[in-house]
Symmetry: C2
C-alpha cells in the first residue's frame, strides 16, 4: 500500500538507497522456498503433511528495545528467527517455514540488509525452516522485525504451556542467566565487576546475549515426554511462575538447583546482585519441561543420548503457590521487577 | 524477551499505563479463538481441514507511513486486518485465522488500545477470521501493526499472481482511485479542488482511504474462474503491470475503461492531475482477475449473482508489453512515480 508521503515518493524506490522490490529480489528471493513463488506473490501456500497440525508463533524484535542498533546485522537476523524457533521447540514442533516482516528506516544501508539476510539465510538452512514470504515496509523509526514461524506436530500433539499436572517433575535445559548478564555487560561495560570478568567469560556472556541457541533438537523429546513446556524468554522465575499458575499449580524451588554456567557463576561471585538478574533477566531460550514421573527415566535416557544437559528444579504441587528458597532454606519472594528477602 | 532498558523496567508493566499481559488479557483474549489457548501460550495450533492448503500472508502497517496517528484506532485495526484479508481474497482463499503483532510506544493510551481491539474484534467476526495469537512489544517509535493471516483453499488451488495466460480477459472489481484521492484530501485539505468537492464525495473518498472493503465474498469465484489474480494495493497501473510482467505477458489497456466512482470523477473534473493519482495511487483493495475466455460467461453470471460490479479492462497478450492508451488512442507511458504523455 502507498506511503503517506504521497504520490511523488509513493514508490519510495528511486530516492531510497534500495527499493522494496530490489531488496526482496536481491537478498530474500534467492533464499526463499519454492512455495514462496519467488516472493513475487502476496501470499504463499503451505500444504501441511496429512495428519499433522500446524503450530504458529509470532515474535517481534524492535531496535533499541530487543537489540542494539550497533549489533551485527547477521546476529539480529539470527536472533529474530531463533526466538521464534525456540517457541516451536517448546511446543514439540518441527520447524517448517516462516514469514519475514521487516520495517526499515530510510537510513538503513544495503550492507546492513545483506548482513541481516545472510543471518536469516544461514539459520534458515541450519534449522531447516524455509522462508515462505513476508513484507518489507518503510518506518520513520527503529528497525522492526516481525517473524511468524510455522512448525508441525502430529494432530493434537502440540505441547501446551498450561497443561502441567500435580506431581510432574520440573526440568530446565542448559543454563540460566547468561544472556541477561551479557545484556548487563552491554549496558554497564564500566561496572567494576564487568572490568574484572575474565575475557573468556565476557565473550561467552556477550555471545549468548547476541544470539540464543534454541533447543529445536529436543522437539520430539518434548512431544513424547512433556505434559507442558515453555521456553524461558522473559526470565526463569517469571516464566516458571506463569507455567505453574496457568495450570493452577505451584512448586517448591531450591534456587541453588538452578543451573548456571561457569561464566555466570564468575560474574555472580564478582557482583552478587547479578544472581537475581540471572534468575529474572530472560533471553535464555532454554526449555522448562513438566515431565510425568512415569516418563522421567525415559526422558533422561533420551536427553543423555542427545547430549543436552538438563537439570531437575522441582516438582509441581497441587497448591497454587510458588515457593523459592535460598540455600539456607529461607523463602525468597520475587515480585514483578523487584524481589524481597524474608 | 526483555527490553534493553534492563532489569528494573524489564517487565515494563508497573510503570507503563498498561502492561503487555493486561493488554492481552483485557482486550485480546476475549476475542481470541479457542485454539489460541486464551493467548496464554507462545504459540497456537491450526488443524487444517483435510485436503486443503493453508494460504499465508503478512502485511505490516506503520504509523505515519500507512496510516495517520490521528486516525480512529478502530479504523486502524480494521485496515490492518482488511489489507491482509484482501490478499486472501485475491488468492481465492477462505479466511481462517490471524496472528496480531503490535509494537506500541509507551505514550499509547488504554483508550487507543480499546478502540483498536474493537476494530479488530468487529472485523474478526464479520469476516469469519479468528484471532489465534500474536505478540505485543514496546517500541520507541511509531505504532507498528504486523498481521499474519491464514486462509484455506482446496489442495493446489491457490490462485497465483503470475499465472495469467495469453488471451485471458482482464477484469477489475469495483472502482479504482477512491482511497488514493482520499489520501490526497488528507494531505492537502486546503487545495482548491478539495474545497470545491461536494460533502458527499468528500466523505466517500475519506472513508475509503480510512478502511478498505476487501472482496472476500469473491474467494470462490476467484478460485473457480481466474487463471491469476492479485489485489490492487500499490496502484492499478503498477500492479496490473506486475501481474502481466510476472507471466511474461502484456496488455493493451484503454484508460477510459478503468472504472471510477462518481466521487473520483467529480474530483478529477475539478483537478485533472488527480486522474494519474487515481490510476497509480493504490490502497484500492479491488481485485485484478485474469479470466479464461472459456469461463467468461460463467464468471460474469457469478458476479451478477453476487452483485459486485466488475469491469473488463483488456486482454492479456503474448508480447510482454504494457500499452496504456488515452481516449484519443495516444499511448501514455507510466514509469515508477512519474508519467509521460506521448
Amino acid at each position: 500500500m502507498p506511503c503517506l508521503t504521497g504520490f511523488s515518493n509513493r514508490f519510495g524506490r528511486r530516492s531510497a538507497p534500495m527499493g522494496e522490490f530490489e531488496i526482496i529480489a536481491r537478498y530474500f528471493a534467492p533464499i526463499a522456498a519454492p512455495q514462496a513463488l519467488g516472493l513475487r506473490d502476496d501470499a504463499a501456500f503451505i500444504a501441511p503433511p496429512p495428519g499433522e497440525d500446524l503450530v504458529v508463533t509470532k515474535d517481534m524484535l524492535v531496535e533499541a528495545v530487543h537489540f542494539f542498533a550497533e549489533d551485527p546485522p547477521a546476529t539480529i537476523g539470527a536472533k529474530a528467527l531463533r526466538v521464534n524457533l525456540s517457541d516451536l521447540a517448546a511446543k514439540g514442533a518441527k520447524p517448517l517455514g516462516f514469514l519475514l516482516g521487516l520495517a526499515l528506516p530510510s537510513t538503513v544501508t544495503e550492507e546492513w540488509i545483506a548482513g541481516f539476510a545472510q543471518g536469516i539465510a544461514s539459520d534458515s538452512q541450519s534449522y531447516g525452516i524455509a522462508l515462505l514470504g513476508g513484507d518489507t515496509v518503510r518506518i520513520s523509526g527503529p528497525i522492526t522485525v516481525s517473524i511468524t514461524a510455522f512448525g508441525t506436530v502430529p494432530r493434537g500433539a502440540m505441547v501446551k504451556r498450561n497443561s502441567a499436572k500435580a506431581g510432574d517433575v520440573l526440568y530446565v535445559t542448559g543454563c540460566i542467566g547468561d544472556a541477561a548478564i551479557g545484556l548487563r555487560l552491554r549496558l554497564e561495560p564500566d561496572a567494576p565487576w564487568a572490568k574484572k570478568l575474565s575475557p573468556s567469560s565476557r565473550k561467552w556472556l556477550l555471545d549468548l546475549y547476541l544470539v540464543p541457541w534454541p533447543r529445536n533438537i529436543l522437539a520430539e523429546v518434548v512431544q513424547h515426554h512433556a505434559h507442558a513446556a515453555m521456553d524461558v524468554s522473559d526470565g526463569f522465575i517469571g516464566d516458571l511462575s506463569k507455567m505453574m499458575a496457568g495450570a493452577n499449580l505451584g512448586a517448591d524451588i531450591r534456587l541453588a538447583d538452578v543451573p548456571f554456567s561457569p561464566a555466570t557463576r564468575e560474574a555472580i561471585a564478582l557482583a552478587p546482585h547479578l544472581h537475581e538478574i540471572a534468575l529474572m533477566g530472560g533471553d535464555d531460550y532454554e526449555l522448562l519441561l513438566a515431565i510425568d514421573p512415569k516418563n522421567e527415566a525415559a526422558f533422561l535416557a533420551d536427553m543423555h543420548d542427545i547430549g543436552i544437559p538438563v537439570t531437575k528444579i522441582g516438582t509441581a504441587k497441587a497448591s497454587a503457590n510458588m515457593v523459592f528458597r535460598n540455600e539456607d532454606g529461607a523463602q525468597r519472594i520475587f515480585t514483578q521487577g523487584s524481589f524481597v528477602h524474608f
